[in-house]
Amino acid sequence: MHDRIGLSFAGVAASTLPFLCGVLGAVIANVPISFLGSVLPPPLLAFMPVYFWCLVRPDLMPAPAALALGALEDLLSGGPMGIWALSFVVAYALVDRERDAFAGLSGIGAILGFAAATLLVGTTAFVVVAISHGQFTPLGPVMLQAASTIVLYFPGLALLNLLHHRLIGPLRSDY
């Protein structure tokens, strides 16, 4: 059911779903509850949709959306503002530049590609904090957070694939 300007509700919904997935990931990851007694830092759930749709459908996850999700992660986490926003954008730029290489990965290679991007996010955040605060923080928690994010990408990727195939694909029949 297209309206006068050529947009449809289904199309708009399909376009916003990837971003909403990122919002949901940021909210879930930043609920200040730790089931593990603060042993593990929460994973960067908001980065999963950024990476996934930056690879498979960059038109659904443009760079400003990555910036907005990073800023939301900053806002909800309570930490220094702009750290994750800049880190997400840096990783986005790398994935966008090397999209053909990343998109060609399959199986465990796809996970390794995500791992590389996640490590870049963590390293960028570490460097930005070191520059802005004038001191180095322990690298261990950054690596732990990256590790938990990478582990959760296994079920996360299956979920995102399902969402993309079953929901976004049918909603956007023009692609």
Binding site: L55, G78, G82, V90, A103, S106, V129
Partner: protein
């Protein structure tokens, strides 16, 4: 799971230019967040206020799970831990007796000296409803906010010692910046010797100590307490002991923020120090032997400044009679025991 099966749809226009602009915006956000962090604090407070009921509801079960997970590693050292605690308990009983005797003696000395009483210290007890243990942030969220009179900067303590400071206050919730957080800076004193230092968090379990003077030799086991400099925190709050990590002296904290469920927020209501009332001889023109300047007749501001200064204590209505200021003796440093027991 293959990414290669996807048909890549590139956006229109120049994506590289778009990313460059977005990157500049992200850098600007970092700078803005560093310079004007309060811009985003209201949104954070609103978020924590909105989620407070949910956090309250799940606090019990989540804490139970968290304690169980932490307790898994302690099962294997229960026997040694029990023996160590019994020995420590015996030592502490001796110290308790000594402290009680000294407290009574101090009280008698204060009466003899007619000493100025310590600043009043009230406390609000709050539950910990959330924790955020992230790579660049160590914080907890409490279920008390502006409605309970909580203000930014107030000290948060548990039964063992200081945990951190309030840095963000919503209507029903407050965020605590822990002593271990990267942004935490607390003026402390190291006893004995009353060595002044800054306790600076760096997201490790043991914050660093920046001594105010060089050439001071610290020893392991020295006590670290708040110095009270700046007037925001009460002096004498227990923080921890000096430890040596192999390369530097650091602070081994007494309080355990990861296991604290109920904390107290201390409100230091020290009356602001009144500056002495200036006398005519203090004014530069009078001191130099010159006649005072004639008041400007047309401006209300200059007419006000031409009046002789009248000291009016805080909280006195404008129409009240002025009082003659008296020079109060310098307040004695607050007693640690009193500060924690009030």
């Amino acid at each position: 799971m293959a990414n290669g099966t996807w048909k890549i749809a590139r956006g229109k226009g120049s994506p590289q230019l778009s990313i460059a602009i977005v990157a500049v915006l992200a850098v600007a956000l970092v700078v803005l967040g560093r310079a004007q962090s309060s811009l985003f604090d209201r949104a954070r407070a609103y978020f924590s206020d909105a989620t407070a009921p949910m956090l309250e509801a799940v606090r019990g079960p989540v804490n139970a799970i968290g304690h169980s997970v932490r307790g898994l590693g302690e099962i294997f050292v229960v026997y040694q831990e029990n023996r160590r605690l019994k020995e420590e308990n015996a030592r502490l009983r001796q110290w308790q007796n000594a402290a009680l005797v000294l407290e009574q003696r101090l009280h008698r000395y204060q009466l003899l000296l007619n000493a100025v009483p310590d600043p009043s210290l009230s406390a609000v007890t709050a539950h910990v409803i959330g924790r955020a243990n992230r790579p660049f942030l160590d914080t907890m969220i409490l279920d008390a906010g502006k409605n309970q009179g909580i203000k930014p900067g107030e000290a948060v303590v548990d039964a063992r010692g200081m945990i951190g400071r309030i840095y963000l206050v919503g209507q029903r919730t407050a965020w605590v910046i822990l002593l271990t957080d990267l942004s935490s800076r607390i003026p402390v004193a190291i006893e004995p010797g009353h060595i002044q230092a800054i306790l600076s968090g760096d997201n490790t379990a043991a914050p660093g100590l920046e001594l105010s003077r060089q050439g001071i030799v610290l020893r392991e086991g020295q006590q670290i307490v708040t110095s009270g400099d700046g007037g925001l925190l009460p002096a004498g709050l227990a923080i921890g002991t000096v430890i040596w990590d192999g390369s530097d002296f650091r602070a081994g904290l007494l309080a355990d923020a990861t296991s604290a469920d109920d904390v107290r927020i201390l409100d230091l209501r020290a009356p602001p120090e009144e500056p002495p009332t200036p006398v005519p001889g203090d004014l530069p023109v009078s001191a130099a032997g010159l006649p005072p300047l004639a008041p400007q007749p047309n401006t209300s501001l200059s007419a006000q400044t031409a009046k002789p200064p009248i000291a009016m204590p805080h909280g006195v209505p404008a129409g009240a009679k002025p009082v003659v200021p008296v020079t109060a003796p310098a307040a004695a440093p607050p007693d640690q025991t009193d500060a924690q027991d009030h």
